[in-house]
C-alpha cells in the first residue's frame, strides 16, 4: 500500500463544557491512501464529524486535539498557523452535508469558484474563471457560463453539491473530506453525486474520507469502513466483506438495521431492548348509567419483546388497550401488575425525578397522533427542535445546537426553508415530520408511535411511513407502532401483536400473522382493510368499553365482549 496522505495517530478530541470537559473522540487511528475511499460510519453523535472538522481546522472554540493528525506525513499541530492554512487550502477539499448553507447566498457561483484560485493560488481573474468553468463542466453542470453568474438561490441542492465538489477540486487537492454529502439529497440526486465522486476518485487518485451514517451507502462506495461508536473506532473492515467480517455487536446492529426485514428474522440473537411481561392495568370508571364506580380492565396480562432496531406493531380497535400499553412503557401511566424492562433496567414504575425522566427520554421517545396539538403553536420549527436538543445536550454550544437541528431537519427530509415557520403554516405531514424530528432529538433507541399516521391523508401516510422506515434503517432506532391500521403496520413492522379488550389475541412475525391469521379477530381486522374489489360491509362495532363511553352498552363486564357477536354478522 502506498503511504497514506491522511493519517490519524491516537487522536482524541475534547470539548469544553459547563460540567467539565467531555472527550468526543477517543484514541482514533486511521489512514487514507491515495485513490482510496475510507468510510467513517456510526450513528449521529459518534464523533465522525468532529474528526474531520479537526483535520479541516473547523473545531469550535475551546476544543482541544491530542495525538497527531498527519497530512502527507506532516503533523499539522507542529505547523505554524500560516503554513497550516496554506496546506489545508492546497491539500484538502471538504464537502459538507448541506450545500445551500455552505455557500455564501450573496455571492455568485463564479465568485465562489474562483475565490481560492485568486486569493490562495494567485491566479489572474480570467484564468481562474476559465478554470472554474472547466471544473463545473467536469462535475457535469450544464451551461457553466450561465451558472457562474447565478447565486446559490438559483440552483437546486444537487447542483449546489456538485458546485461544492467542483470548487474543492479547484486547488487539485489529494484529499477529499466528505461529511454526509448526500444525506440532505433525495435518492436519485444522491446517486448522481456519488457517480461524480467515483469518477473523480478514479481520474484524480483522490484519497477520500467519507463520512456517513448510511452503511448501505458506505458498503457501496468505500474500500474500507471504520466503524465509530461513542468516539471510538471499534473496528475497521473491508467494505466488500463487511457483513461477514463484522465482529463488534455495534457493527452488527448497524448492519442489521440496513438489512431487509426478511433477513432480519434469522438474526434475533440480540438481546431485546424492551421486554414487557404480564402487564396489567385497571381503571376505576364511573358507570355510564351513573351510580357505583366500575372496574375496567384496560390491559390484561400483556407481554412481548422488541429487538434493538426492530419494529413491532400493536394493532387493535380503540379501547383494546394498545395505547394504555404504550403509555405505561413511556411512563405516562403506571401499571398495576407486571414488568416493563428496557435494556435490562426496570421501567415498571414511572421515573419520579426530572433526571430519571430525562434519562429514560434519551432511550424512549413518543410521537403522538395529532402533531398540531403536540407542537407548541407559538414556536417555530427551529425553536421547537433547538429546545428539544438542548434538553439532552445541555452543555452544547449554539453552533452545535444549530448543527444538530439542521441534521434533524435533514433526517426527516424537511426542507430547511420551513425551519422558521410555525405549526399553523405547515401541512399535516410536515408537522408530523417536525414531531418525529423532535422525538429524534434525544437520539432515542426506541420510538413509540401512537397512531402517528392515523390523522394523515393516505399519500402523506405513505410518505411518513417510508420516512420512519428509512430512519430505522439509518439510525437503528427500534419502533413500537400503535395503530388500528393493519396496512400501515404491515408497511413498517417486522412483528405484530394483535390486541383486543386488553388482551393479546395473536402475536408473531408480521407475514405469518397477516397472511395466515389464527385468531378470528385478526381475520376480522384484515377483512376490514380497503383493497381492490373490496366491498365495505357494516359490522357491529366491537363491544369494548372506553372510560367515557356514553352509549350505556358497555356496562357490566365489558372485557368479555364475545367475538361470536361479530361473527354473527358475517
Amino acid at each position: 500500500m502506498t503511504d497514506p496522505v491522511l493519517e490519524f495517530a491516537h487522536v482524541s478530541i475534547t470539548a469544553p463544557g459547563a460540567d467539565g470537559p467531555r472527550t468526543l473522540v477517543h484514541d482514533c487511528t486511521l489512514q487514507v491512501a491515495p485513490g482510496e475511499v475510507l468510510g467513517l460510519v456510526g450513528e449521529s453523535g459518534s464523533g465522525k464529524t468532529m474528526s474531520v472538522r479537526a483535520v479541516a481546522g473547523l473545531l469550535p472554540d475551546g476544543f482541544t486535539v491530542e495525538g497527531a493528525i498527519r497530512i502527507d506525513g506532516q503533523d499539522i499541530s507542529e505547523l505554524p498557523a500560516k503554513r497550516l492554512r496554506d496546506i489545508r487550502a492546497r491539500r484538502l477539499g471538504m464537502v459538507f452535508q448541506t450545500p445551500r448553507a455552505h455557500l455564501n447566498p450573496l455571492r455568485t457561483i463564479g465568485d465562489f469558484m474562483t475565490e481560492a484560485l485568486v486569493t490562495v493560488a494567485g491566479e489572474s481573474a480570467d484564468a481562474a474563471a476559465r478554470r472554474a468553468m472547466e471544473l463545473l463542466a467536469e462535475v457535469g453542470i450544464p451551461d457553466p457560463e450561465r451558472r457562474m453568474r447565478q447565486r446559490p438561490g438559483d440552483l437546486s441542492g444537487g447542483l449546489l453539491q456538485r458546485v461544492m465538489i467542483a470548487a474543492t477540486l479547484a486547488m487539485d487537492p489529494p484529499i477529499l473530506l466528505a461529511d454526509e454529502i448526500t444525506t440532505a439529497l433525495d435518492v436519485t440526486t444522491q446517486e448522481e453525486v456519488m457517480a461524480v465522486l467515483a469518477d473523480l476518485r478514479r481520474t484524480r487518485q483522490l484519497a477520500v474520507l467519507f463520512i456517513t451514517h448510511d452503511l448501505a451507502l458506505a458498503a457501496a462506495v468505500c474500500d474500507r469502513v471504520a466503524v465509530m461508536q461513542d468516539g471510538r473506532i471499534v473496528e475497521t473492515l473491508s467494505a466488500s466483506t463487511m457483513r461477514a467480517d463484522a465482529r463488534e455487536p455495534y457493527t452488527q446492529r448497524l448492519l442489521s438495521a440496513v438489512l431487509p426485514a426478511d433477513l432480519l428474522s434469522g438474526q434475533t440473537a440480540a438481546e431485546p431492548i424492551l421486554v414487557v411481561d404480564g402487564l396489567q392495568k385497571t381503571f376505576h370508571v364511573r358507570s355510564a348509567r351513573g351510580g357505583r364506580r366500575e372496574v375496567f380492565v384496560a390491559v390484561d396480562d400483556v407481554g412481548f419483546a422488541l429487538a434493538p432496531g426492530g419494529s413491532l406493531g400493536i394493532v387493535g380497535e380503540s379501547g383494546s388497550g394498545k395505547s394504555t400499553t404504550a403509555r405505561i412503557i413511556c411512563g405516562l401511566e403506571s401499571a398495576d401488575a407486571g414488568t416493563v424492562s428496557v435494556k435490562g433496567e426496570d421501567w415498571t414504575t414511572p421515573a419520579r425525578s426530572a433526571r430519571g425522566r430525562r434519562q429514560r427520554a434519551r432511550i424512549a421517545q413518543m410521537v403522538f397522533q395529532d402533531p398540531y396539538l403536540s407542537l407548541d403553536r407559538r414556536q417555530t420549527v427551529r425553536q421547537c427542535l433547538t429546545e428539544a436538543v438542548a434538553v439532552h445536550r445541555r452543555s452544547a454550544s449554539r453552533a452545535e445546537l444549530r448543527a444538530r437541528v439542521d441534521e434533524l431537519l435533514a433526517s426527516v427530509r424537511l426542507d430547511p426553508t420551513l425551519a422558521d415557520r410555525r405549526p399553523r403554516s405547515l401541512s399535516g405531514g410536515q408537522r408530523q415530520r417536525v414531531a418525529i424530528a423532535r422525538a429524534l432529538a434525544a437520539d432515542p433507541e426506541i420510538l413509540v408511535l401512537d397512531e402517528a399516521v392515523s390523522a394523515l391523508d393516505v399519500t402523506t401516510q405513505v410518505e411518513i411511513l417510508t420516512l420512519l422506515d428509512a430512519i430505522r434503517r439509518d439510525t437503528g432506532v427500534a419502533l413500537l407502532m400503535i395503530s388500528h391500521d393493519l396496512a400501515a403496520v404491515r408497511r413498517l413492522c417486522d412483528q405484530v401483536v394483535v390486541m383486543r379488550s386488553g388482551r393479546i389475541v395473536e402475536h408473531g412475525p408480521i407475514a405469518d400473522v397477516l397472511d395466515d391469521p389464527q385468531a378470528e379477530y385478526t381475520r376480522l381486522l384484515l377483512d376490514s382493510i380497503p383493497r381492490e374489489g373490496w366491498v365495505p360491509r357494516r359490522r357491529i362495532p366491537a363491544r369494548v368499553s372506553v372510560p367515557d363511553d356514553s352509549t350505556g352498552a358497555a356496562s357490566g363486564s365489558s372485557t368479555s365482549a364475545p367475538i361470536t357477536a361479530l361473527e354473527g354478522d358475517r
Binding site: 492554512r85 487550502a89 455564501n104 447566498p105 475565490e115 490562495v120 447565486r151 438561490g153 486547488m171 426553508t417
Partner: protein, 319 residues
Amino acid sequence: MTTGVLRRVLGKLGALLLTLFLASVVIYSAILLTPGDPVVALAGGVRPTPELIAVIKAEHHLDQPVWIQYLYWVGGVLTGDFGTSFVYKTPVVDLIGSRFGITLLLVLYTVLLIVVFGVGSGILAARRRGAAEKAVLVGTSVGVAMPTFVVAILLIFIFGRLLGWFPVFGAGEGLLDNLYHLTLPAISLSVLYIAYVSRITRGAIVAQAHSEHVDTARVRGIPSERIFRNHVFLNASPQILAISGTTIAGLFAVSAIAEQAFGIGGIGSLLTEAAARKDLPVVQILSLLLVALFVVLNAVVDVVIAFIDPDSARSRRTA
C-alpha cells in the same frame, strides 16, 4: 441590474409616493383638530372685524370646503409655494431654507459619529474576545439607557462648564466654527444610537461568523481578512444598514432635542417653536418635510440592500 432590483426600486417609488400622499392628508387634517380659529391667528391675535375676516378667508380659501383647501395647499407645495408663516409673515420656504443647512450639518455630523463609533465598536466587539468585547458591551448597555437630553445636560456641564473646551450655545459662523459648535450637540444626539447600532452590528456579525458558508471559506484557505470582508461583513451589512437607515432618517426629527438644549436655530427648534405658537403653515410644511426625508432615506437604504442581496427582493422560494 437584475429585474428583482428594478422591480424593487419601482415598487419602492410607488410606495413612497403613496406614503407622502397619505402623510399630506393626515398633516393637513391636523388643522381641523387644532383648537382656535385660524382666522384669529392670521389676523395677528387681534379681534378681527367682519370685513377683515372675509378678506382673510378669501385670501386663504377658508371659505371653501376642506378638501378644496387641501387641494390648494398641495397644489402650492407641488409648485413650490409653501405658504406664509402666520407668525413671522415671511414665506415658509425662507424660514426653513435659512435653518435647514445647520440641521443637515448636525445630522451629518451625528451620522458620521454613529457610523464610525457604532459600527466600529460593533465590529471590535464581534472580532476581539475578552476585554474589548466586555468594554463595548458595558458601554453600550449604559449608552442605550441614556436619553439625549440627559447626555446633553451632562456634556454641557462637563465640557462647557467644568472644562470649557466646547461652546454650549449657538451654531457659530463659518464651517469650521459650525463644526466646533455642533460637536457637543452631535455627541449628545449620537450616544443612544451609537450604542444601538453597535449592538446590532455585533449581533449581525457574530451570527454571520458562525454560519456554515464561513466554515467553507476557512477550509478553502481564504485569508481571514477577506473572509471577514466578503463573507461576514457583507452578509451582515443588510441588517446593519436597515437599522442605521431608520435611525438616521429619524435624526432630523430627534435633532430638535439637541437644538433646543444647545440653542441652535435649526429646523428642529423651528418646529417646536412653530408648534407652540400655532404657526400652522410652518408646522405643516416641516412635518411633510420630515416624513419625506424619512421615507426617502429608508427607500434609498432598501435599494442599497437590494443591490447587496437581490434575493431579498424576491418572494421566498421553496426549493
